[in-house]
């Protein structure tokens, strides 16, 4: 704990050099807290205090190394990969995903785009652990996602909807969000349709309030209860589990449609990257 506290400053400085972020993630969150009265945003003072020391910062640092290292059978680094703003350009890339990619003809979220980069550019087999292992702070995926996402800290969510496929996916996501099914008849609004609502002790974000929702979708985040950095896809899976519906498959078009819509819901609000959650 102490060791981390002591290291926090240099880490923030080192990352600041590449992140171009004017505000630290906790300052972005504080700005939202100051702008609106929200029990969701303020529910964990502890997390707010610990954010300068967020373990996700280290995961992101590992990701930086991994990103710039030549890897895979083709021995190339991810600098050769396009995350929407040209090869190797990461600044502001994540807040504009999911987006349509010409080279695959598909709308892709960050996780699927990393898979594409690993397999098609670096040459990893799709069953290689680097590609397959999606969860946990130690996974390549979480390291890379965290690093890439951090280059959008403080920037406004703005996933493009110009391409007809982007629009179609977003609109299908809107239907999925409202779609009730399963043993409990739940849709996402059952728990995320009102402000200040609690499921047991957790205060839930209201999907209709942008200031709430930007924090809700700011993944990767260190989940204190899991002691691991988690992704958007991991959160989706967790909510469907509580809804008594089956697991959504990571990288499925259904999951990307849902994430397209949930990003659209936070449009114009600043991303908190990396975030820290309960």
């Amino acid at each position: 704990m102490f060791r981390k506290a002591l290291l926090a400053l240099p880490v923030a400085l080192a990352l600041g050099a590449t992140a171009h972020a004017e505000k630290a993630p906790e300052e972005v969150l504080q700005g939202l807290i100051d702008s609106i009265d929200s029990r969701y945003l303020t529910q964990s003072e502890m997390n707010l205090m610990m954010m300068p020391d967020n373990p996700a910062l280290w995961v992101g640092m590992d990701g930086e190394d991994l990103f710039h290292t030549a890897r895979g059978p083709n021995n190339v680094s991810m600098e050769a990969c396009d995350f929407g703003k040209g090869p190797g350009v990461l600044e502001g890339a994540y807040v504009e995903m999911p987006r349509y990619f010409e080279d695959t003809g598909k709308v892709m979220d960050l996780e699927t785009r990393i898979v594409h980069c690993m397999t098609d550019v670096q040459g990893f087999a799709s069953d290689d652990p680097a590609v397959r292992q999606r969860h946990g702070s130690g996974s390549d995926h979480m390291k890379l996602q965290t690093y890439i996402a951090m280059q959008s800290n403080g920037m406004e969510w703005n996933n493009p909807l110009d391409h007809p496929l982007e629009k179609a996916m977003r609109d299908a996501g809107e239907v999925l969000f409202a779609r009730r099914a399963g043993m409990s008849d739940f849709n996402c609004f059952a728990c995320h349709g009102q402000s200040g609502k609690q499921v047991r002790a957790s205060v839930l974000p209201n999907a209709k309030i942008g200031e709430d929702w930007t924090k809700a979708i700011s993944w990767p985040a260190h989940r204190v209860g899991h002691d691991n950095v988690r992704s958007s896809q991991h959160r989706v899976r967790g909510c469907y589990y509580q809804m008594r519906q089956p697991g959504m498959l990571a990288g499925s078009d259904a999951s990307i449609a849902l994430i397209s819509y949930w990003t659209d819901l936070a449009r114009g609000q600043p991303a908190i990257l990396p975030d820290m959650k309960r």
Partner: protein, 232 residues
Amino acid sequence: MFKKKTPMAAGIAAFATILFAGGCAVADTGKSGQVDYTAMTPHELAEYLIFEANGGGFNLSQEMQEGGTARERMQQDELQKACSIIDDGKPDAETMAAIRTAAQESIVYPEGGIQLGDWKRGRELAWSGFGYRVGHNYDDHSVRDVGGTCYNCHQFATDRTGGNVGPVLTGYGKTRGTSDAILKYAYDMIYNPHVYFPCTHMPRFGSSGFLDEQSIADIMAYMFDPESPVNE
């Protein structure tokens, strides 16, 4: 039509026709057999992404506790369709009325009338969030009883922290009494709350088969028994 094994079919078909046209037209571009997402309505595309795209967007082959597979659990019954509204609005008045009627018809009362069971068991069931979860961590009903998840959304006795998605139920029996009318109201609410609140977010614990008769009686005892901490 009714692929789900719920006993709520009766009556609900009556308003099926005023809902979605049903069926999922899949547009084909002809381009290497690829499906054109942009040619579908958002609703068609959502259904396609759930059930068809690359074999389906969910783990559809997993077996469910109630029998059948996840594919069947993801299929909507008429109520779920009627209440799946963009931005979470309410359906029109005619549909709302049809939902109430269908809900009323779905309710099965215990032989010999509504009984209060064991409040101690009810206390645990009202608290428990166990049951019917599937996916990476499957609820095995042979090792534990299915709970009611009531505390997720309600506060009951204050010795445990409940949610506030639904109203506070602390002191429920004490303030409402135990007349036949109030017992029936509570039973109906647990069994199928759409009778009184069409498109509510509270689950249909009886109609869906989530809770059995004994568990409902025990949870009701927790709410109404004078000895229960709810009524302290």
